[in-house]
Symmetry: C2
DNA sequence: CTTGTCTATGCAACGAGTTGCATAGCAGGA
DNA sequence: TCCTGCTATGCAACTCGTTGCATAGACAAG
């Protein structure tokens, strides 16, 4: 399981509440791992009872109190151990590809709109990633001499950018193929 | 759920048994969707009881008998309906990226071997994809005028090839970054 | 004749992930 | 005052996916 380890990494980068973690999983961490708030709250409970993380009740004004979690020694050790274990290269799950191959048994042209929708979504993601890169790494506000953590965050973000660019080029290939099949038959 | 739809597509391309489907999920369909044999058998049962597929007992010599499944009218309709429904652009789950960002709180250089292992695995995948492409689409044995189904299979395979090439380039970037961090600190 | 391997199917238990719902404090606007 | 929206946490039920195990026929190697 990687969710608990993703949470450890995020809490090491900055302690926070379940709610805050959920929002991070919609942005920076979300570039490479997703999770809903229900999943996060459940795992936080388990990690706390396993002694991986510590809790601190934080009273707030103008909003409900929150529980701020931070990584305990046991959690750090668990992360370190996991980092030294080999993992399997991930297996792909690409629903759109299932649809594309399925289109052979339906009307290929009917998929064009769907593929264009996906293209739009990936265009937006790429724009977000590039904006984040400028803000944190390549723009004028970025640190002149980044530390190891920033270097590693940047290389992961470059992976996201490369993925989105590759996907956009492929979706164009898919669209061209669908258009070619449409009129001809 | 896309597993049942992936199975429908595969059975439309060619009827087969659960065992045969499991092997297809290790190769061609495995390029974009994975499943174990247990998952496949379970879903086949459900699809059969829902009337999506038909079964035929096939006695065999020199090996156990098998159940050959083929797509029924209801299954074809279900696939067609699904093809016309919009789906969400997939969310990413990249365990290695979690590790890379986690390396900031451990020894970055310790990850080098792991990343090299992944690089090797992706190199092999790319070679398999390219061999498949030559065999089925671009080589001398390939059909001169492919039909819609073959065109669509090819464009999906091109997506897999593009993904592996992008991943290899990124892993080189990761390795360069880890080497840079190693000596310096 | 035993052991291992390949084909072929399946159960049981568990863990991961999703969906729907519920609660509650506080702020701002109609 | 009521409604909406944001912060903040959580339960319950369900589906999806993984892991371990079991069975069984046939063949090949030792």
């Amino acid at each position: 399981m990687a969710l608990e380890h993703a949470i450890l990494v995020s809490l090491l980068e900055k302690p926070g509440s379940g709610y805050e973690l959920a929002r991070r999983f919609e942005r920076s961490i979300g570039y490479f791992w997703t999770a809903t708030h229900q999943q996060i709250y459940r795992v936080l409970k388990r990690m706390e009872s396993d002694g991986w993380i510590d809790v601190r009740e934080v009273p707030q004004q103008a909003r409900p109190d929150k529980k701020e979690y931070s990584v305990a020694a046991l959690g750090r050790a668990a992360l370190s151990q996991w980092l030294h274990e080999p993992i399997e290269p991930e297996s792909v799950r690409h629903e759109l590809a299932v649809k594309i191959r399925g289109a052979a048994f339906d009307d290929p042209a009917a998929l064009i709109r769907e593929v264009e929708r996906h293209r739009q979504a990936h265009t937006e993601r790429l724009a977000r990633y590039l904006a984040g890169e400028r803000r944190d790494f390549t723009g004028p506000e970025a640190p002149a001499t980044p530390d190891a953590g920033q270097e590693l965050q940047h290389v992961v973000l470059r992976g996201g950018i490369a993925y989105e660019r590759m996907t956009l080029a492929w979706l164009d290939d898919v669209l061209a193929t669908l258009h070619r099949l449409g009129p001809a038959g």
